[in-house]
């Protein structure tokens, strides 16, 4: 019964794009709708706007004590954007996000193509694939902290003793990077897979029947029928994966703590070290705002490129 409903919902969404465009024209103009939006605006004002203003306030002052502070203008922004440690962390985070996208997007699509479509195994497959997404992020860290250890972890132990390669993520910076990347692939590829799966399910059967009549190869079917229909969901997947990998904090914090050395200290880790560890309000404020700005700009560029291409 429920799976029937899901299928109906899936089928009904395919002409959604057209319906959406049509509806937008018909939507009545009514400024009283603002009253319905008001609760959201108030709650976001309290949770986002006021804190952001506080950060702006920090970023232009040198604060010694709550009562003893001087206005320093944009000095913190200058010193933060020239700080070699911040720049190194920025490049590291960028490299990490690039690798995450390059691995997870193709892998996720491949898994979605292989996922079962009918029968009881669909439910089991969905639950299994979704499970890593429901694990608290620090527990994901804990799982990999245990799994990748050379002495007590299955993964680390296998690499050391069966493959005979020396592997220790607490001492070797390459190993630490690989561990964090593998952990992210393990944790987040399911999200891409689920999105792509939802996209594939919305393709009407006649498309496949036509391909079968033409005796199209599996690859041709994928390339010319499935992949083009995935553009919408893959836009969301790329955006979400970019934002979240660029903001990654908890998992590397638990597994490597940013080390060894600075090998895995991403922007968030550096920021929270300055903010909560050293309590340097001014630099932390300036850092926060620059960080926020970078995420917004890159996301906006991604969004524009992905929604415009192929039109």
């Amino acid at each position: 019964m429920t799976s029937q409903l899901a299928e109906d919902a899936g089928a009904e969404t395919s002409p959604r794009e057209e319906a959406r465009g049509r509806q937008a024209d018909l939507k009545p103009k009514n400024n009283r709708a603002w009253f319905l939006v008001l609760p959201v605006v108030v709650s976001v004002a309290f949770t986002a706007v006021i804190p952001l203003m506080t950060v702006v306030n920090f970023s232009v002052q040198d604060i010694f004590t709550p009562t003893d502070r001087i206005f320093v203008g944009l000095d913190w922004f200058r010193s933060i954007s020239r700080d070699p440690e911040v720049r190194a962390a920025f490049l590291r985070t960028l490299l990490f996000s690039a690798q995450v996208l390059l691995v997870e997007i193709p892998l996720g699509v491949a898994i979605a193509v292989c996922m079962p479509r009918r029968g009881v195994s669909v439910s089991v497959a969905l639950v299994v694939v979704a499970l890593p997404l429901l694990i608290p992020w620090n527990v994901v860290g804990t799982i990999w902290q245990i799994f990748a250890r050379g002495d007590i972890g299955l993964g680390g132990w296998t690499i050391n003793n069966v493959l005979g390669i020396g592997f220790n993520y607490t001492l070797d910076s390459t190993d630490a990077w690989i561990t964090v990347l593998l952990m992210d692939v393990w944790h987040w590829t399911p999200l891409v897979a689920l999105l792509a799966y939802a996209g594939l399910r919305s393709i009407p059967d006649p498309y496949f029947q036509a391909a079968q009549i033409d005796a199209a190869s599996a690859w041709a079917t994928f390339r010319h029928i499935q992949l083009p229909r995935l553009r919408g969901v893959l836009t969301i997947a790329v955006l979400l994966r970019f934002m979240d990998s660029f903001m990654i904090y908890t998992e590397p914090f638990v597994v490597t703590g940013g080390g060894p050395g600075n090998a895995t200290s991403f922007l968030s880790i550096l920021l929270s070290k300055i903010a909560v560890g050293q309590f340097d309000l001014g630099p932390a404020g300036a850092f926060s705002l620059l960080y926020f700005l970078i995420v917004q700009i890159i996301s906006y560029v991604f969004f524009t490129v992905l929604t415009r291409s192929g039109r």
Partner: protein, 267 residues
Amino acid sequence: MRLPWARTVFWLYAATLMLPLLWMFGMSIRPNEDILGSFSLIPQRVTLENYETFFTNDVWYSSYLNSILYTSMNAVMSLIVALPAAYAFSRFRFAGDKHLFFWLLTNRMAPPAVFLLPFFQIYQSVGLFDTHLGVAIAHMLFNVPLAVWILEGFMSGIPREIDETAAIDGYSLPRFFIRIFLPMIRSAIGVTAFFCFMFSWVELLIARTITSVDAKPIAATMTRTVSAAGVDWGLLAAAGVLTIIPGAIVIWFVRNYIAKGFSMGRV
């Protein structure tokens, strides 16, 4: 149009996915001496002492309950706030609607680390520090935009003719919304609640910053397992297993909508 080995590939992937989880489960039922003593695939001795420690130690189980409490509160509050807004976005044009919608989404893109300092200060000054309500409100930062986004996607799929017919039949907007519209989108509400629950349940950075004792989340307790005797791996693993359970239960209920939900109702 299925590749013959697609099934095998998928289940191999699923097995790989489960491997680290099973390994953690294996750790949780071994005594600590065995974990550090010698490496073995199958536990030599099976024990429940790690779980016993968890449930008899007040710090552990109360922080577990804290997490469940503020996550549920957050899901309810986010839904109540987001439902009317999503309806407004899906049904009406109004001054600044597109800008407002995009602005909401930018909050989902804000690095949580940015908000650490102000949250710490503001919540302390208004008396929400270390309360469940405080964490629930703080998590609305990323859950409200998400809820609006998902709900709007689902609501736009429902034809506007239904609203018009109800209006002709003499339903006022609030009565229509509660009696007719909400029951129609209950699967969307389920999915949204699931996502709010999920993102609040997995978040650590903010929750840890604005709590100390009374509302401390389980995730924060887990980061403090290092004692004089080193890391208590068995207990850590047991706590890890227990944090997966609520999520697994919730997934089972929404499994048929999960794929659609992850695409924010926009396939």
